[in-house]
Subunit: 172 residues, 2 copies
């Protein structure tokens, strides 16, 4: 289930946010962000939005804030002013909870959100090319790779690898 983020969800997110950043294979956030700093970086203000993927033991039964949070997505305009009709988004899923469809559910939610909100496209600025699961997921949702910036991500294991710019056209 995908629902809007509430502040009490953050304590459930920060541990996997930190581990995903520290793994050094998908995000170019500064290492060692405090919980408050990471929350300020992650949680979007209007017109953006932040949601969580929740593992509900009983479908339809609401759970307490933070309970069962296994992933999160944050979305909003990719740039202000004359670029604000294109959306962007970021995604994190708890490493232990991968393969259960949370990433896909979050991705589908973001595409629906952007379409409903009137955005003309969604741009991902920096998809690590070795993150093949993410690349395949976005492609399956209709995103294309517009370009790969060579060596733009310093992968903890592989060293400099490319960052894909990916785009989904919603104006057609």
């Amino acid at each position: 289930m995908i629902r809007p983020f509430v502040p009490d969800d953050w304590p459930a997110i920060y541990p996997f946010f930190s581990r995903v950043v520290a793994a050094g294979d998908s995000y170019a956030y500064p290492d060692g962000l405090s919980s408050n700093e990471a929350e300020a970086v992650w949680v979007a203000r209007p017109p953006g939005a932040t949601v969580v993927a929740v593992d509900t033991p009983s479908p339809g039964v609401p759970s307490a804030a933070g309970a069962g949070v296994i992933g999160t997505a944050t979305m909003g305009p990719v740039r202000p002013g004359r670029g604000a009709h294109i959306a962007t988004a970021s995604f994190m899923v708890s490493p232990e909870q991968r393969g259960r469809g949370a990433g896909r559910a979050l991705g589908e939610h973001v595409v629906d959100w952007a379409r409903r909100s009137g955005y003309r496209g969604i741009q991902f600025n920096a998809v690590v090319e070795t993150n093949t699961a993410a690349v395949a997921l976005w492609r399956s949702l209709g995103f294309e790779i517009l370009a790969t910036v060579p060596g733009a991500f310093d992968h903890r294991e592989h060293g400099p690898v490319g960052l894909h710019v990916m785009f989904l056209d919603l104006a057609r």
Copy 2:
């Protein structure tokens, strides 16, 4: 002449910053930023840097802060953490002072700065495709167009036009 920005330069920059943004043909900043807001957006903190292009009546004679400022550039890492080895930059030249080489001098300065600072490349995220003077200038400095995000800039005159992602490889 290119020299580091000092805070007393800002009153000379804000008028042309505002006019360039309001023209709606090159930058996706919010319209109507106050002087303080615009300064916060434009002026970089270390490890970034901000410089000004100054029209010096007598070469070699220092002028007062703000005097003769006809352009500015701001530069720094394109993203933090594992992406911080790639630089980015933005440029503004006073509309009345175009064609006098300030843009080229600022561009050459940024390339030198990035090389000296050890960056492995420079990425421009959003060069408006109809801004042909800028595109030609960056190409002449060695930048290539990696991709064009379709319709990503709402040009005041032309409507939706593409934004080029441009890149200069400094690692070769």
